[in-house]
């Protein structure tokens, strides 16, 4: 697959490295102070964004780095979200146990669906993940006694030492912490022996074997890790929305993450972040735009927002795959190169 694997940071000079550290620290300070100077609605948005970044990282690890296409990512988020809800309702688990549990259960369910088809090449995994999407959603809807069907479950806010994270600012900090952790963790994995094995499998699985990479094992690891990310994102989403229902985890959400990975740039950590940002902002921009157009032409656009979204997601997938398969991350890099060598 054409993609842009980031060179390890070690290639940069030490002054470049410290500059990068400085930038990152500055970014972190801005993120920490964010609720102080932006409207509440933005904080809400930033929370959603963090969740989407985590989920996109997960799909990017599977699809972008390892070449394992999943059409059922949303369903694995669902597993995480229901895990949090059920763990809270039945076991009274606090968030710091429930969220990891959400990740683990999504990973287990993911591996359950993926295992049979990961052993072989070809489109079997695509079918298996599509099966996961439909079957899990079916379970969310029809396993009434546990999931409460279409109505879903209510989730109490997470609480830290008895202090409830019951508004967007408080839950934002939880999401921020988890997002930063998951991003750094992912970057470390990608720049390690494991990450190199992922890319080797994506590019040439036979050669990877010659080098000692146990393909099935590493595909499983990638798939479990990606599903784990989805589960964590789903768990956070449960605390964020404070309810869980099947409608949240439909095929459209899987397409959403697919678009995020493709638009951002497959096989790039930066790309996953850019893609998630872009795709989180997009529906809002679409809604504002459509409603504005609607009022001027006197048409109630609200009714077509969902299909409009679906159309645009699809268009993005197709256009980026054809025109810029390395995604926004690549555009970003080119832009920076140009600004570093003006006129070059």
């Amino acid at each position: 697959m054409v993609s842009d694997v980031e060179a390890p940071v070690r290639g940069t000079t030490s002054s470049g490295l410290s500059r990068q550290r400085l930038l990152m620290a500055a970014g972190l300070v801005v993120l920490l102070a964010l609720p102080l100077f932006v409207p509440r609605y933005w904080v809400f948005f930033a929370g959603l964004l963090g969740i989407n970044i985590i989920a996109t990282h997960g799909l990017n690890i599977m699809m972008g780095y390892t070449g394992l296409l999943s059409l059922g990512h949303a369903a694995f988020l669902g597993v995480g979200a229901y895990t949090v809800a059920l763990a809270q309702i039945h076991l009274g688990l606090p968030f710091w146990l429930a969220i990891p549990l959400a990740g683990v259960s999504a990973a287990i369910v993911g591996v359950g669906f993926g295992l049979p088809s990961l052993r072989i090449r070809g489109l079997y995994l695509v079918i298996a993940t599509l099966a996961a999407q439909f079957i899990l959603n079916f379970v969310f809807v029809h396993w009434q006694s546990v999931t409460n069907g279409d109505v879903g479950l209510t989730v109490q806010p997470a609480s830290v030492f008895g202090f409830p994270l019951n508004n967007e600012t408080r839950v934002y900090y939880l999401i921020l912490a988890v997002t930063v952790f998951m991003t750094v963790f992912g970057m470390n994995v990608i720049n390690s022996r494991v990450g190199r094995a992922f890319v080797a499998i994506r590019e040439r699985d036979l050669t990877a074997q010659v080098l000692g990479v146990e393909i099935v094992g590493y595909k499983l690891i990638a798939f479990a890790l990606g599903s784990f990310y989805a589960g964590i994102a789903g768990g956070l989403l449960a605390y964020f929305n404070r309810f869980v229902n099947p409608e949240q985890f439909g095929l459209l959400l899987s397409v959403f993450f697919l678009s995020a990975v493709i638009v951002g740039g497959m096989g790039s950590m930066l790309g996953a972040v850019l893609g998630a940002v872009f795709m989180t902002l997009l529906p809002e921009a679409l809604r504002e735009g459509a409603l504005a157009v609607g009022t001027t032409i006197g048409f109630d656009m609200a009714t077509i927002l969902v299909p409009l979204r679906e159309t645009v997601f699809g268009l993005l997938i197709v256009c980026f795959l054809i025109l810029e398969p390395r995604g926004l991350a690549h555009l970003w890099k080119r832009l920076r190169q140009r600004s570093h060598h003006p006129g070059g």
Partner: protein
């Protein structure tokens, strides 16, 4: 060191190998030569575990590895390069070479994700070692951060050799390492391969059409023709063997020249 015993391999009706036995002696360069389609690459694929022979055995250091998966053979010290370059084109030279060390490292998801000291240390040590030994020895230092797809063909072949060496293999299989190279590059590659034998004491099994190189660096030669072994011995013996001369006069000489050109 490595023995291939009486291997039979056929694809449907095509007999790619019939009754082939080869022995690669420790610390020696053993060449496998023969006309196009003789079954040399198939033999390598049997040795590295991609093709399952219908009968016969592959024995490495006294252990029967005929049924082992390719990656398990890597863990037992077998490394190879491919006839068509098989580098990971999106990656840098350094990352490609580091992949070669997969079997020597132990980092898993948790230890590398959390950057535990153990995994940080082994990565740093590997970096240092690659810079110090491998890139220097193969004269790749200057291109280590380039993407391999940007490199000329000859250098790519060398990167592949570097990747195979980082594994610190006991036995190294090279499938046509100088195909498509110019004279200068061929000479250098020949020097690298003898260096590998002499400095690292690595056993080498070599497929090559370039007779100059084969005769120049091999300790022992095995000749295949139509999947059958027709001769084996020292370069001097092979040069004079009437069967070999006949097999090569059957049109294969031109083919070999084509390849080399």
């Amino acid at each position: 060191m490595l023995t291939v015993e009486d291997v039979q391999l056929s694809f449907g009706g095509v007999k790619a190998l019939s009754g082939v036995s080869v022995e690669a002696a420790k610390g020696r360069i053993t060449a496998v030569i023969g006309p196009n389609g003789a079954g040399k690459t198939s033999l390598f694929n049997v040795i590295s575990g991609f093709y399952k022979p219908q009968s016969g055995r592959v024995v490495l250091d006294g252990e029967d590895i005929t049924r082992l998966k390719p990656h398990a053979r890597a863990y037992r010290g077998m490394s190879r390069t491919f006839q068509n370059i098989a580098l990971f084109s999106g990656m840098t030279v350094l990352d490609n070479v580091k992949l070669g060390a997969h079997t020597r490292l132990t980092g898993g998801v948790l230890s590398s994700g959390l950057r535990l000291p153990s995994s940080r240390r082994e990565e740093a040590e590997l970096d240092a070692e690659i810079r110090r030994d491998v890139l220097g020895m193969l004269e790749l230092d200057r291109v280590q951060n380039s993407h391999v797809e940007d490199l000329p063909y000859g250098l790519q072949k060398r990167v592949e050799l570097a990747r195979a060496l980082v594994m610190r293999p006991k036995i190294l299989l090279l499938d046509e390492p100088v195909a498509g190279m110019n004279r200068e590059e061929k000479r250098e590659m020949g020097r690298f391969v003898t260096d590998v034998r002499d400095r690292l004491n690595t056993t080498v099994l070599l497929i090559e059409h370039d007779m100059g190189m084969v005769m120049g660096i091999s300790d022992h030669i095995v000749v295949l023709s139509f999947g059958k072994p027709i001769a084996s011995g020292t370069p001097e013996r092979i040069r004079q063997d009437p069967d070999v001369i006949k097999a090569y006069l059957g049109g294969a000489e031109d083919a070999a020249d084509d390849k080399a050109a």
